[in-house]
Amino acid sequence: MKRFFVTVAACCFAVSAQAQEKAKVDPAKVDAEIAKAFAAAPADWKPRLDQDETMKQCSLYRNAPPKNVAEEIQKRERALIKYPADGKLTGDWASGEKIAQSGYGLRFTDYPARQANGGNCYACHQLSKAEVSYGTIGPSLLNYGKNRNFSEADTKAVYDKIYDAQAAFPCSNMPRLGLHGVLTIDQIKDLVALVMSPDSPVNK
């Protein structure tokens, strides 16, 4: 697994120079086009058109930022992670499984909200063995906790990745689910349990 990430990182840096070269349209012009195309959006949706600094950098470098930018993103995102007040990072894996299955939330057909937002983890990751309908945009997480001896350090790392994936992998495809408030801290704890609990079907 470690080797996989090293390889991925090496590839990222190799293409970054090329990516820099390719970004030939002024981002301000792109923003203006986006504003025009979504002009009819309600006022409270308009912030979705804007990019934070990390989105801007990942767009500019096409998700392959040079080393200094990657470090900058990582540092910035790490500082944004919030933890549960009681310090407990794992919740209920059974609830986590439901959150992982659900893709509900924040689409323009999801208002007024009829249920809690989902994490839609299975869209991109393999998790529990029983669920065969999983995507492959992200790595398989089958036996993730077991393979790491359910360690405390890895449990925290999983919490961090779900809260803000870019703190671990700058310009990761994964949404920053906690940072953007897609999931609540309690929901994230349930997902941590799904990935890291010895009782979870992910580790059985």
Binding site: P42, Y122, A123, G135, I137
Partner: protein, 269 residues
């Protein structure tokens, strides 16, 4: 014991692949059947409807679309789709097929722009709207040809470059961009395979299948509708039909698909 364990692992790994294979095989079988009998493609009903609409007087001006210039001269439908998007001097902008049709419906038939862009796509299970049916008809009239849009005028080059920048733009509460799902080979969402659209080889295979008939929603979905649905999934607001963003993305995709065969309506899950 070890052999049994190995078997279990293989079975385990095989299950999702098989599930995907089964679904994909069923659609592939359907595609094969349609190839053997092209007239059984349900999307052709909409193409036929579009053909009739082309010559039917409509709108406040009670005019047909027979004088609509899709780029090869007024009324020329054959092969027109294969050379779109292109820059149109009369409108002073680059237009894809649907945007150009909308322009003709406004200029020739007198339809109101605001009305045309309001709810332009059908709900699931409903047939494609009139503009989409006409787009399907025009696209079908380029079947068998290859994408040959030149996209070499400054305005066209700017649209392609803008489309490329938008493709990589990340935004919204999920940080998504087109690139999230379409910038790698062999990936899938759940069991749905995802084309690597910035790679010409894969773009050539799929772009020419739109407008496509979707089995899951039993309707024809146009390219503008496809992009609108992508932005829905990206948790963005409703993308305006015919906006410069959608025209730019279609220009970029068509550029990548240059030389790819047009075979509409394609069949999609």
């Amino acid at each position: 014991m070890i052999a049994a364990a190995c078997c279990a692992v293989l079975t385990l790994l095989g299950a999702p692949l098989r599930a995907q294979d089964d679904a994909e095989k069923a659609v592939e079988k359907y595609r094969q059947m349609l190839k053997e009998d092209p007239w059984s493609n349900p999307g052709l009903l909409d193409s036929d409807r579009g053909e009739a609409l082309w010559t039917t007087a409509a709108g406040p001006n009670k005019a047909t679309l027979e004088k609509c210039d899709l780029g090869k001269g007024p009324g020329v439908v054959d092969g027109a789709f294969s050379e779109l998007p292109r820059y149109f001097a009369d409108a002073d902008r680059v237009m894809d097929l649907e945007t150009r049709l909308m322009w003709c419906m406004e200029k020739l038939q007198g339809f109101n722009h605001a009305d045309l862009v309001k709810r332009p796509y059908p709900a699931g299970g409903q047939p494609v709207k009139d503009l989409g049916a006409i787009a399907t008809y025009v696209a079908v009239k380029s079947n068998g040809l290859k994408f040959a849009a030149k996209l070499d005028k400054p305005q066209e080059q700017a649209a392609v470059a803008m489309g490329e920048a938008i493709f990589y733009r990340r935004q919204g509460p999920h940080d998504f961009g087109c690139t999230t799902c379409h910038n790698d080979s062999g990936r899938r969402i759940r069991l749905q395979g995802l084309p690597f659209l910035s790679e010409p080889k894969e773009a050539k295979e799929v772009v020419g299948q739109w407008p496509a008939y979707r089995v899951s929603t039993t309707q024809v979905m146009t390219m503008q509708h496809r992009l609108y649905d992508c932005y829905w999934q990206m948790r963005m607001p409703e993308l305006e039909m015919g906006s410069d963003v959608s025209v730019a993305l279609i220009s970029y995709l068509t550029k990548n698909a240059s030389g790819g065969e047009i075979a509409t309506p394609g069949l999609k899950r």
